[in-house]
Structure formats: C-alpha cells, structure tokens
C-alpha cells in the first residue's frame, strides 16, 4: 500500500510538472525540435544533472531502498544495435506527434481527445514488441552488476534482457 501511494504521488508531481512546463503542448515541443527555443534543452539538462547527483548521493548514503527489499545500485548497459534502431523509430514518432509517453499520459489526464489516438498507437506498439520479445527491457528493479551476474547464474529469467546478452 505504501509503495502504491508513494509511486502514485511521485507520478502526480511528475505529470503536474510536465504540464506546468508546457511539455504536453505539441507546439512547444515542435518549436524546441526546430531549435527555435532553448527551454526544453535547459529543462532537460537541469533535470538530468539533478537526477545524476541525487542518484549518486542515494547510492552512497543508502544500502537499501526505502520501500523495496532491494539494494540501491544499478548496472550500466553496453549499447547494442537495438538502442540505435529503437531510438531512430522513437525519434520519428516523437517528431510527428510532438509528444512522448509522459506528455501523452498527461494529455489523457487533461481530457484532450487527440491523445486517445496517440495512446492507442503507443499501446499497440508496446504489444507488438511484447509479442516478439520475451525479456523486459525496463525492469521494475535495477539489479546491481554483481547481483545481476550471480542472479543470471541462478536463473537467466531473473535478469531478462537487462544484461548485456543479445535480446
């Protein structure tokens, strides 16, 4: 219950900030991608900086996550072909719709009818991918490198495709 409420609360803040910063507005995204406005890039860079510094601080200060029986830490993945191809496919869709998954969710929350079409497409895209793949590319828990190695020795399904093995 505490996990659900905490995740819901973080999501509400995330969605509210996305709307407040106008990242749900397709014209704002479009002018950013046409390099007419610097807002998105400054916004993105400052978010990454805070996330990186905060994440490192959490990793150094805490051995366990507050609401999960999991040690704090993560492994870094080597790039594979799918990261390049997936990024290419995603980038085309993002530029056409001028919305990515977070803003699409907030558009739905704002009762913007167009978002139903985009969301239906996203769901189909995810389902098409899931039908063809077995591993989870975005696991709920990040396994630490050493843990990941030992986990994969116990059972490969524990780590899914988050290891460096080909998907």
């Amino acid at each position: 219950m505490r996990t659900r409420l905490a995740a819901l609360a973080v999501g509400v803040v995330f969605g509210l900030v996305l709307c407040w910063s106008r990242m749900a507005d397709p014209d704002v995204i479009r002018s950013a991608l046409l390099l007419e406005q610097s807002y998105l890039y400054l916004f993105f860079a400052s978010a990454v900086l805070v996330a990186a510094l905060g994440g490192e601080l959490v990793r150094r200060q805490r051995r366990r996550a507050l609401l999960a029986e999991a040690p704090v830490g993560w492994s870094r993945q080597r790039p594979q072909r799918r990261h390049l191809v997936g990024g290419l496919v995603f980038g085309i869709g993002w530029a056409v719709a001028d919305a990515c998954p977070g803003p699409i969710a907030t558009q739905l929350g704002q009762a913007i009818p167009w978002a139903l079409a985009t969301m239906a497409g996203v769901v189909l895209g995810i389902v098409l991918f899931q039908r063809g793949e077995t591993g989870e590319t975005e696991p709920a828990l990040d396994l630490v490198a050493s843990v990941e190695r030992s986990a994969s020795e116990i059972h490969p399904s524990l780590v899914g495709s988050s290891s460096d093995a080909p998907a």
Binding site: D25, P71, G109, G121, L124
Partner: protein
C-alpha cells in the same frame, strides 16, 4: 500561477528529483513506458496488481488532471502542425490516423531501445548508461531532423 510556463530552472530540477525519489524509494529507474508496459501486461492477465511502475504512470495521468483543475483548462486545443496542415473537412480523420501511426512508432521504438524520453533520456543518462546515451542521442537527433523535414514538406 499555472497560466505561465514554469521556469526551466525550477521545472528541470523538480523532474530530476522525481527520478531520485524512485531510486530512493524502490531502487527503480523512473520511466513512463515501463509503467505503460506494466499496466498492459497486468490488464492482459486480468489483474490489477500493479507494481510501482504502474502506479507511477497512473499518477502521471492524474497529474495532468490535477493541472487541468488548478489551471482551469487545457493549455492547448488544436493539435500543433497537424491541425494547421490538415484543416477542414476530413482533416480530423487524417490527424487521428497520423497520431495513431506515430504512437505505434513511439511505443515500439521505446520498448526496443529500453525506454522513452524519461526512462532512457532522463533516468538512463543520469545513470551514465552508455546504452541510454546512445538511444537518447539517436532519438533527439532523429526528432530534430524529422521536424525540419516536416517543416520543409508542409
């Protein structure tokens, strides 16, 4: 207060803190597409027993609703370049078809590359994951190129 765009130096760090919160609370990588996948997988098994990613993404949607209530209305009505280009009779059908097709690319592409703008772009880059850096550089470069291409065609 909500009728003006929040300054980037407040909005960016606030978003970054959401990433840190997911690390601290769940040792999780914040990602909206991961949340969508969780909801889709569980619903297909006729279950509502969502893990944190599913509840997070429901929160993101409700964050949009909260913004709507606080600001008194959505920040936009027409859908960007699509409305301007496909105006008039039958235009709505074209826009729906294009958004649906773009959505497929967004969903499939995000899963293939292991995350979207939040999962790879925000969380993955902050984790200094080389895979996320490659995916993020690729989707940003592609989206900029495609936007200029659309601008040249319309």
């Amino acid at each position: 207060m909500f009728d003006e765009q929040l300054a980037w130096y407040l909005a960016g760090p606030a978003l970054g803190l959401c990433v840190v919160a997911c690390r601290l609370l769940f040792n999780g990588r914040l990602g909206v597409t991961g949340g969508f996948s969780e909801v889709i997988t569980k619903l297909s098994r006729r279950s509502l027993d969502l893990d944190w990613r599913g509840w997070f993404v429901i929160g993101v949607l409700l964050g949009g609703t909260l913004f709507l209530l606080l600001s008194g209305g959505p920040t936009f009505h027409d859908y960007g370049w699509l409305t301007r280009t496909f105006d008039g009779f039958g235009g709505g059908v074209a826009i729906v078809a294009i958004l649906f097709a773009a959505g497929i690319l967004i969903g499939y592409g995000a899963k293939l590359s292991g995350g979207c703008t939040s999962g790879n772009g925000l969380s993955g880059v902050a984790m200094l994951s080389p895979a996320a850096l490659v995916a993020t550089a690729t989707f940003f470069a592609t989206a900029i190129a495609v936007s200029f291409l659309i601008e040249a065609l319309i």
